[in-house]
Symmetry: D2
Subunit: 366 residues, 4 copies
């Protein structure tokens, strides 16, 4: 049965992506769209300044936008995707969860909460056990008929790409104790109103993205962390067990974050380059095993050409759900260097939200 989906922040950059992905999706239908009071009451096509490369989907055009309150059509939603800005996401998302709704958010507000899974769906879907445990507990208490609200956070866009090759390697070769990442990030991540100014990015690099380095450094430790015994909270990798150092840059690229990373395993001696490549190539994400609609055929593309991955050529692999890794080679300082490319608006934002929902659906949680 097709699930009813709501989108909060529907007129924004992330919201438009959610709508585009939902409009072609076999499991979901667009049921409720929320935006600011200024847009409320208008058909979506009149409320939005549509800026996607696909045309505004017919199924969204006539939906009347409502305010971002857990009322009306939103109360009938099986899942609600939030593309809200962080300055308003806090209160709104809380209200939705309190009202018993299932919310998947791209905002940063609740990412640090221990009982809120921070999920890159091709990497740590096991953190969704927190939600499963919560839902089961509620059902056990006879609350079946009442919906159990919960919140899942999508990771920061550049974190999603970074952790992709790390997880299979850690699973196989044990902890990584040192990691550096210098990012070359696309402008679509900044939205378009105003987003990155043309004067700032044509023939230029901006070697700074507010808050980004901090996110890369701590989110990695949560996503690679484990659940507590009760399965109710995430236990981050301790600070002193993994040093992460990030340097973030904005570059003149529309979509696709490139990250030059280096890493060191705790285990001595470290694996060989060939073992690293083989491990990445053979990694199959849980979503693929579950047969999720958007799951990548090849979770991690290991490229052998010396000048790849490149954002314009490689960002669309498996519709942006696959992460590309190239130039895997030994490092004179740590153990390995490599270049990671991920699609920032797919696996790094809205697309991950959709795939998380598919996993929830496959698990019977929505």
């Amino acid at each position: 049965m097709v699930k009813r989906a709501g989108v909060l922040g529907a007129t924004g950059s992330v919201g438009q992506r959610f709508i585009l992905l939902l409009s072609k999706h076999p499991e979901f239908e667009i049921h409720a769209l929320g935006a600011s009071a200024r847009s409320a009451g208008k058909p979506y096509k009149d409320a939005v300044s549509w800026k996607q490369t696909d045309i505004l989907p017919a199924s969204a055009q006539g939906v009347v936008v409502q305010e971002c309150k857990p009322e009306g059509a939103f109360t009938e939603c099986d899942i609600v995707f939030s593309g809200l800005d962080s300055d308003v996401a806090g209160d709104i998302e809380k209200a939705f969860v309190d009202a018993g709704l299932a919310v998947i958010s791209n905002a940063k507000n609740y990412r640090r909460e221990k009982d809120v899974p921070l999920v890159v769906p091709i990497i740590n879907p096991e953190h969704l056990d927190i939600v499963e445990n919560k839902v089961k507990a509620a059902r056990a208490k006879g609350e079946e008929k009442k919906k159990t609200g919960f919140l899942i956070c999508i990771s920061n866009c550049s974190t999603a790409g970074l952790v992709a090759p790390l997880k299979p390697l850690v699973d196989k070769f044990g902890p990584i104790d040192a990691l550096t990442a210098t990012t070359l990030q696309a402008i679509s991540g900044a939205g378009f109103s105003p987003g990155v100014s043309g004067m700032d990015i044509l023939d230029n690099i901006v070697p700074y993205i507010s808050g980004e380095e901090d996110k890369l450094e701590w989110e990695t430790k949560k996503i690679l962390g484990t659940l507590n015994k009760e399965g109710t909270e995430v236990v981050n990798i301790p600070e002193d067990e993994m040093k992460v150092s990030a340097q973030c840059n904005r570059v003149p690229v529309i979509d696709g974050h490139t990250e030059c990373i280096s890493l060191r395993f705790a285990q001595r001696p470290p694996p060989s380059v060939e073992e690293v490549k083989k491990t990445l190539r053979e990694y199959v994400c849980e979503a693929s095993k579950l047969g999720c609609h958007s799951a990548p055929k090849q979770t991690i593309n290991v490229l052998e050409q010396e000048d790849r991955p490149q954002p314009r050529l490689d960002r669309e692999r498996d519709n942006g759900y696959s992460v590309s890794v190239g130039r895997i080679r030994e490092d004179s300082l740590l153990d390995f260097k490599m270049v990671v490319l991920s699609h920032n608006t797919i696996i790094g934002a809205a697309g991950s939200g959709i795939l998380i929902a598919e996993i929830l659906n496959a698990r019977g949680l929505i």
Copy 2:
């Protein structure tokens, strides 16, 4: 007295830059221009496809291009600048030096020779002592009337920017034992025939530049090295005393290489961020003390704005002879992170050649 200058590879990208800089220079005049046999015999204006943002200087337009042999007008040159490609530079530059000419080369062919100084003029002009010692020895043998040929190599463009902040820090706080650099390099460094293709660089990043990472890693150890007791050779920093790890990218920027670096001092505890900034701010290069025409007023610009340096806004500081450093902050893995910006065709190529010649001139060596 104005010195006569020759340019080898005069029609190429680097050669054009040499000519542009020489045409406005108070100490040098363009006396001989060398190019391939195809161009020889033509007035320069007919031989060149001029691609600079300044118009072709009047003083170069009518100069008849000759072949790259130490004959004719070249034998009358006080200094010869080589912008030759590495596939032909080896033999030609050797022939010029053997003929008693003073050659400053942008090619990579002889950079590793111990008795050939590899010079970033704002950083290690003391390596020119090798030339001075050679000239003095020749003069002492009564060879004054005969010219003493010698060769000086300009460093790789991205190395020039990297070593700029390192040298003052090493002078003050002792050895750096670990260094990482991820570069975002402009396309002008690749020339324009064909150089970087538009299809490769619009809305794209190329995470690979052939041979570049190796150059960054070893050239740094020569430029920061010392001379032997006799002052005839450079002694590189030993491999095991300084680990350097580079990752090089080509980005859609016309001029200006951005480098995200991190470094660790051997000395424990390391200096403070403020001490690092102060040391960089107070560094005055030898060329400035000598009053060289092109020497920067401020050798290193330490920027405090959190989103600087940026190539489009900061590359022209002191006509491209100043290096900008920003975002100096502590690093969780090594000691410090910072962003370095340098003008790749000025301090990273032709401009450094000119400033080296000014230093030689000030020292009476040409």
Copy 3:
């Protein structure tokens, strides 16, 4: 039955596009690939430097490249697509046609031949009657068992976009006697080896494309022309009945040619803006009526937003087979001004070749 397709110039930019489109096509299979002697004998994956945003299709990877001669696998092809450069296309294409093969060429060599249709498949498929008449005549002579070779030329990329809105208007309102077009052309049209240099196109415009203005001016008169009574030749619109003036520019855009055009009808008074829009909206191309696989759902997209069409947002409409037209308004000098956007590698090159082949197939001509 699936038709066997050959591609000449298979390693080049246009050839790669043919292969990509064929690899997903229900009616065609890749049967023969031709390239230079240097590539001959190699599996395609080793011969090509693949530069498309989709990965190299599995069905092409192992095909052994042969020389561009009407031999071997080429003789078994039902249709041959030529992406050859004009410096070699002349002799090779002639040889293929003489050998009885059906050739659709992107090269300019034979475009001016009266008995060679110059076809934009969404605009003037009726010019293919020349081929039909030739084939029927041959069959009538009892040559059925022998193949009848013929050649069809694809128009220049910028011409394809230009004629798209003209044809429906001329059909409805009679001759256009004056036409101006200033183009802003994407760089993919120039190929990638070397194509447009990054130094020429970053932060820049090149207001010149060799031969392009001439092509725009005369090809328009052939494509909008009629067939002679016998149906064997195209009769161009006479010079004095239609003045066309073009100005062509290369701009920093990957795909999608934008053209600012103005036009005047011979008929006085001219139609209204609304009549023009209606006519364009209601135009349904023959290929759509025939149900061709690649035919656009909406041949011409008439956009009402004042800042559209834009290449990045609108070039992919109907997979690049639809042409977008916006800003239709009155002109103070001629009758109307408008902005036309077309995908230069789809409707302007390889894609048109494929759609022409589909029409031929639907008509039973291959």
Copy 4:
């Protein structure tokens, strides 16, 4: 004696340009800076987000910003440059003129007023006679000691480039009765807060600039117009004597507007291409004859290379005060086609303001 200059809208894009040009100017000194109430009271360096490629001039850093009222330091100014946005320029500029100040404005508000000269200083400085006549009349009335306020408008950026080649041609060959211009405009003209979004301009063209086509069409008729007998008003070229049709596009270029134009002379037969080129080459603007500091050495650069002018290579000719014209050739529809390039922030905005002030100063009007 150095004149005291004020700048209104000092923190904006145009204001910053005024300040940069004034800081290096021998005839003017920065005396008063005006901005919004939010900035008032702060030293300029703290009020501005400086975004120029030159560093913030020392002479401006400490100037305390005041509100845009004709009070305080502004009352002591010999000349006031306005870079105000049009939504506030109307009232403020009126107040300044009423207070007896000489104002040169980049805003559009008063451009259509008949007694306000609309001046491209290299083209129609004779329109400044209106100001001279007003000042003389006031002085004749014994008002010498009191300042006579007046306003001069700088033309729209794209108009400045367009009229540059027209004026010498009209002076020599008589009226132009038809003119088309398709522009490819740089993004710096839109300012940087927010200006053109990176998402709108990377790998893209925006075929629309609000109000721009109308400005190009009517301003041309005022700038090429004449003064009435009394020398108090501009008489525009009548609508029916000159048809102008403009199509305006925003392109991914930082600085420099490219315009593809075509034109027809009323005179039959028209001049030859060579006569047109000669006329443009020989044109010497009044400001050059007066020896004005910023006046171009060559008012119009006629380029013979078939692929020029190009914005990145040619925009800085004579510091941006020279206009480049290339590809002059016959047109099949009108008489001639050509490509015009002008620096939009110099001759198209702040730079023209400065040169107008130099002319006023040379004429003893400030």
